[in-house]
Amino acid sequence: MSRPVEPGDRVGRLYDQFAPSLYRYALMILADHGAAADAVQQVFVGMLRARSAIDSDERYLRRAVRNECYSALRRRRRKPEQSDAPLLEAVSPEADNPDDRVAVEQAMRALTPEQRDLVHLKVYEGWTFQEIADFYGESKNTIASRYRYALERMRNKLSWTT
């Protein structure tokens, strides 16, 4: 006989399923670990209080996290914060090149939050331009052009730092 799912178990299960990806997304937009944790926590607590989205799909949660991140950025303009904790880690430890990682991270930090948001979805989440365009509610061409501009900016920064 299966034990009924306790609320704490359900929260834990939802967290394990969605939080790591959402946290990384929030971190890329905010470039601040504390603010990213706050955003993810806010979304989870809001979702569970509303009780309506217990079985929410990841895209719904991602949109909520995105909204929360941009709200945090608007608040941050009034009270600037700066975090030096690393944003990136090597996918495989043996392939880690600290100098290269720091350079990529600096290039990433040089982007605007909106550009990091876009780069994250394209590079780290593997979304297509069309999926990103649908998510943002913008045209595919606009997204593609903004992505190219963001990468160009990163390339300039990387060539300048290396």
Binding site: V11, Y15, Q41, R101
Partner: protein, 126 residues
């Protein structure tokens, strides 16, 4: 074509890394925040329960006071009736005596307030 190659190079370089994952403490923080944010069923009912308790307390106090008052007036009426019987007996115990006894006992138990009836003093100047 060079632009495309450059883009691919940058993407490849970026893909060697990924954003850092959440700290371990965040899981407990989210679950804890959810537990704290959960509305307490007992607290939700507390105002209604307090209101009902106060209503019951007032009702019981009112019932007690009403019983005390009933007992008091009942006893006073019995004493008054006994007094009327006694006075009527001493006056002959007929209807006229009972009527007189009622008036005497009533006047004795509820004396007229002299302050309510100002005494009119008349002087004869003649």
């Amino acid at each position: 074509m060079d632009d495309v190659n450059n883009m691919n190079d940058i993407e490849e370089q970026v893909r060697r890394y990924r954003p850092v994952g959440p700290p371990d403490a965040l899981r407990a923080r989210v679950i804890g925040a959810n537990q704290r944010g959960k509305p307490n069923r007992l607290l939700e009912w507390l105002p209604a329960a307090v209101a009902a308790g106060v209503a019951v307390a007032f009702y019981m106090l009112g019932a007690g006071a009403r019983a005390d008052a009933d007992a008091f007036f009942s006893e006073a009426q019995q004493q008054r009736a006994a007094l009327v019987d006694q006075v009527a007996g001493s006056l002959g115990d007929d209807p006229l005596a009972r009527q007189a006894a009622e008036e005497i006992v009533g006047a004795a138990l509820n004396p007229p307030d002299v302050l309510d009836d100002p005494v009119v003093v008349t002087t004869n100047h003649d």
